[in-house]
Structure formats: structure tokens, C-alpha cells
């Protein structure tokens, strides 16, 4: 739908992926920003460091996403002043869910993936819909290329459901290096078949020693 007084959303495209491991979390997103068939920039970061151990990657309408990120960063600052510590990833996950739901009747057009380390140092990934429904998962993809990426991740990383009774053991997750390689492969494939994904891939890796960032070139066509 075109922009008008009654319709103020745009889809800027892009894909975000996150994978959680035993002691690390990998969050990745491409850096292309598009409107319709045009590419506006090849160098736009969709990833935001909300807290020391908490990283948000969002795809959708980047105007709403910018506002959402600023909102969360401000709330996090207030939390730090009140509690004298950083927000944990699960706490930030709930805050994001409530922030999204309070715009239930005028939604943030943002498809989010939150990645980080929980209080025990284990990797956690939370995946959201646009109005705040969320779930802790081992891996997730959101955005225009998500339908291309999720089947591959399901094939490689799927574990028995946590709802099963009696509980089943989860399969041993990947090593950090393997997870980063998988993310690169998955984006290379998504870039081939999704017009909104490409240009550059930004990968953020969180582990006990801190945060690391890598950039990989993707196809620019």
C-alpha cells in the first residue's frame, strides 16, 4: 500500500538470523535497505546492542525499528540507574514484548530477533511477531528471507520439543565456529533467492569474553 495520511508503513526488507549455543550467541543480519524495487543503501545496520549481553536484530520498517530501539535503550538506561546493573537478556525479552504489545492498535512494523546470554551464561534467542508474542528458542530467522532460511536451520539444528513429556535430551549444539559458518552459508543461499537480502552480512558474536563483530560481503545484485 502506498504512503498516505492513513497508511504510514513501508517495508524495507532484509533478513535477520540468530543461533544460540551452549555458551555463545550469534546474531546476524544483512545490510541492505530497500523500498519497493530500489536499493536505498547497501550499508545499513539492522543490529542494535541493547545491553552488555543482549543484541536486537530487526527487519521490517526501519523507521519504526529506529523508534523501538531508542525506546528500549532509554528504558534500559533508566533500569541501570534504578538497579545499578545491566538488564539480563530474558528481562529485556519481556520488556520488548510489552513494548510491542502496547502498540497493539498501531503496531511497530518490526520483526525482531533478540539474542544474548542469560544469567547462567548460556546462549538464548527470543523470536517475536509484530505485536509482541514471543518465545525462547534455539535459533530463529525473521524478515523477507526468513521462509528461505528457517527450513535449513530446522534441518540442521532442530531439537526435540520442550513440551514433550517425558522430556527428551536436546541434541548437542554446534560449536561457535560452526554456527558462524552456518550463518554465512544460510545468508549466501537466502541472497540468491530473495531480492531484498544481500550486499553485506553483519555478524555479531556474544560470548563470555565479550562481543565481536564480523562483516562478510554478499552478492550485490
Amino acid at each position: 500500500m502506498a504512503l498516505s495520511r492513513d497508511w504510514m508503513y513501508e517495508n524495507n526488507g532484509g533478513t535477520c538470523v540468530a543461533i544460540a549455543g551452549a555458551d555463545y550467541c550469534v546474531v546476524a543480519a544483512d545490510t541492505r535497505l530497500s523500498i519497493g524495487y530500489s536499493i536505498y543503501t547497501r550499508d545499513y545496520s539492522k543490529i542494535c546492542n541493547l545491553a552488555e549481553k543482549c543484541v536486537l536484530a530487526s527487519s521490517g520498517f526501519q523507521g519504526d525499528i529506529k523508534a523501538l530501539q531508542k525506546n528500549l535503550a532509554a528504558r534500559h538506561l533508566i533500569y541501570q540507574h534504578q538497579h545499578n546493573k545491566q538488564m539480563s537478556c530474558p528481562a529485556m525479552a519481556q520488556l520488548l514484548s510489552n513494548t510491542l504489545y502496547f502498540k497493539r492498535f498501531f503496531p511497530y512494523y518490526a520483526f525482531n530477533v533478540l539474542g544474548g546470554l542469560d544469567n547462567e551464561g548460556k546462549g538464548c534467542v527470543f523470536t517475536y511477531d509484530a505485536v509482541g508474542s514471543y518465545e525462547r528458542v534455539g535459533y530463529s530467522a525473521q524478515g523477507s528471507g526468513s521462509t528461505l532460511v528457517m527450513p535449513i536451520l530446522d534441518n540442521q539444528l532442530k531439537t526435540p520439543s520442550p513440551l514433550l513429556l517425558p522430556a527428551r535430551d536436546a541434541v548437542t549444539p554446534l560449536s561457535e565456529a560452526d554456527a558462524v559458518d552456518m550463518v554465512k552459508d544460510v545468508f549466501a543461499s537466502a541472497t540468491e533467492r530473495d531480492i531484498y537480502t544481500g550486499d553485506k552480512l553483519e555478524i555479531v558474536i556474544l560470548n563470555a569474553s565479550g562481543v565481536r563483530r564480523e562483516f562478510i560481503d554478499l552478492r550485490k545484485d
Binding site: F105, P107, Y109, D129, V131, E135, P162, L163, L164
Partner: protein, 272 residues
């Protein structure tokens, strides 16, 4: 129309003295509304664009030993399966549970809100809230938002002083007390199996198996239902999760594959 946001006042700010920090972050949270001529049209288009996660077959029934509550675990965003492992039976407190059907975000948010109100009731009145009271609190809140596009079809089940009680509450403002309900897109299929096998004086094991079978059949025929069939039992001592089975395995259990002997076997042609 003035919205009843009293349900949101429980987490209002407590820093009365900090006047200089008054502003968006200290005010009690409230819903942002778009400024546009056609609110309904906007909501319809926004929901179509955003495709919030929806969840789909749940059932509950009262019998001699209490209440059985069962659900599957798939959420879909439009035609895409968003998750196969969502919890659709949420615990409000140790003796009351509720089901999630319709919009996932809507149900989870309002159930959490209900849980907070139930706890406040307990603290103010020094006794547990009845299931009738809890479902009434939820209905009154949802009625304020009637017509605005919330999608919630939930059942509240619990054992209180009146015995086991089951209420169906929806986002249109409806509230029904009953002994057998199924909610969601797969509910017709679940009703068929449930109504066929139901007896008030079943033992718990048989009741749980009936619920499991009903959910399995709903997942078999409804594309929006699937994943894991979860069954809970609510008794006078509280709720307990009885089982969680992948519906793929239930299929093999109920309808094991039969080996059909081949009518004709292909023979390998010897190389010329």
C-alpha cells in the same frame, strides 16, 4: 469511547516525588492509537500486513475427577508455521490454568494481566479468587476493547470452593460457564471425537486419552494445528501436566503403517 485501562494501573509508576522526570517513561502505560479517519479499515490492513501469530485447537471438559485441559502447539503467521512448540496452556496460579487460542500476543498479555489481578485479589482479600471471579475480571477487561480487533478465545479452568469450574471467555465480551468446550480453527474436529467418547464418570487415564485423541484428530485435519498434543489435569489439589506427545508419533500409534505385499515385483532386466 473511553477505554477502561484500570487493568494496566497495577504497574503504574511509584515515583511520585520525582517530578522532573515526568514524561513518557514514568506515566502508566497506555495504548497508542493511530490518528486516522477510518480506524476499522486501518486495523484490518495493519493486521493483514503484520499477520500476528495465531494459535488454534484447544479443548477442556469437566468430569468426575476434575477438569481435563488439552491443546496442540502450533502458531501460524498467515500460511507460515511460526512455531511448533508454543505453550498454549498457561498457568495463572497453582490451581487455575487457561488456554490460548486466537492471537498469541493478545492471549499471553491478557492472561499475564489476569494473573496479576488474581494475585492482587488474594493479597487484598486473604483468600483465593474463584474461577467465576477470575473469568469475570478477564471478560470485563476484554469488553472495553470490544470491536478493536483483539482476537482471544480462551477457557479458564480451575477447582475452587464450588468444585471444578470451566468458563469460556472471548474477545467479543462473551463468557459462558460450561462442562465441555473446544476453541479454535480445529475445534469442529476435536468436538466430534470429544462428544463421541465423553462420559462423566470416566477415570482420569481414559479422560486424558480422549482429550489426546481429540487433539490428534484436529491436528490431522486442520492445517493450522499441529506440533505437540499437551494434556493437563486440574484437580482439587491444583493442576498437573499429564502428557506431551508429538502428533506424528500419535499417528503411528493410532494408525500404524501396514505392510502391503506388492502385487507385482519389478525384475531387473539383465544387461544385453
Amino acid at each position: 469511547m473511553k477505554l477502561d485501562t484500570t487493568g494496566l494501573e497495577s504497574f503504574a509508576s511509584f515515583h511520585g516525588e520525582m517530578d522532573d522526570l515526568h514524561g513518557e517513561f514514568w506515566a502508566p502505560p497506555s495504548f497508542d492509537l493511530p490518528v486516522c479517519a477510518d480506524f476499522d479499515g486501518f486495523q484490518k490492513n495493519a493486521i493483514q500486513m503484520v499477520k500476528p501469530a495465531k494459535g488454534t485447537t484447544t479443548l477442556a471438559f469437566v468430569f468426575k475427577e476434575g477438569i481435563i485441559v488439552a491443546a496442540e502447539s502450533r502458531t501460524s503467521m498467515g500460511g507460515y508455521v511460526a512455531s511448533q512448540n508454543v505453550k498454549k496452556i498457561v498457568e495463572i496460579n497453582p490451581y487455575m490454568i487457561a488456554t490460548v487460542a486466537g492471537g498469541a500476543a493478545d492471549c499471553i498479555f491478557w492472561h499475564r494481566n489476569l494473573g496479576m489481578k488474581c494475585r492482587l485479589y488474594e493479597l487484598e482479600n486473604k483468600r483465593r479468587i474463584s474461577v467465576a471471579g477470575a473469568s469475570k475480571l478477564l471478560t470485563n477487561m476484554l469488553y472495553s476493547y470490544r470491536g478493536m480487533g483483539l482476537s482471544i478465545g480462551t477457557m479458564v479452568a480451575g477447582c475452587d470452593e464450588m468444585g471444578p469450574s470451566l468458563y469460556y471467555v472471548d474477545s467479543e465480551g462473551g463468557r459462558l460457564k460450561g462442562s465441555r468446550f473446544s476453541v479454535g480453527s480445529g475445534s469442529p474436529y476435536a468436538y466430534a471425537v470429544l462428544d463421541n467418547g465423553y462420559r462423566y464418570d470416566m477415570p482420569t487415564g481414559e479422560a486424558a486419552e480422549l482429550a489426546r485423541r481429540a487433539i490428534y484428530h484436529a491436528t490431522f485435519r486442520d492445517g493450522a494445528s499441529g506440533g505437540v498434543a499437551v494434556v493437563y489435569h486440574v484437580g482439587p489439589d491444583g493442576w498437573k501436566k499429564i502428557s506431551g506427545d508429538d502428533v506424528r508419533e500419535l499417528h503411528d500409534k493410532y494408525y500404524p503403517a501396514v505392510q502391503v505385499p506388492p502385487e507385482q515385483e519389478m525384475m531387473q532386466v539383465p544387461p544385453v
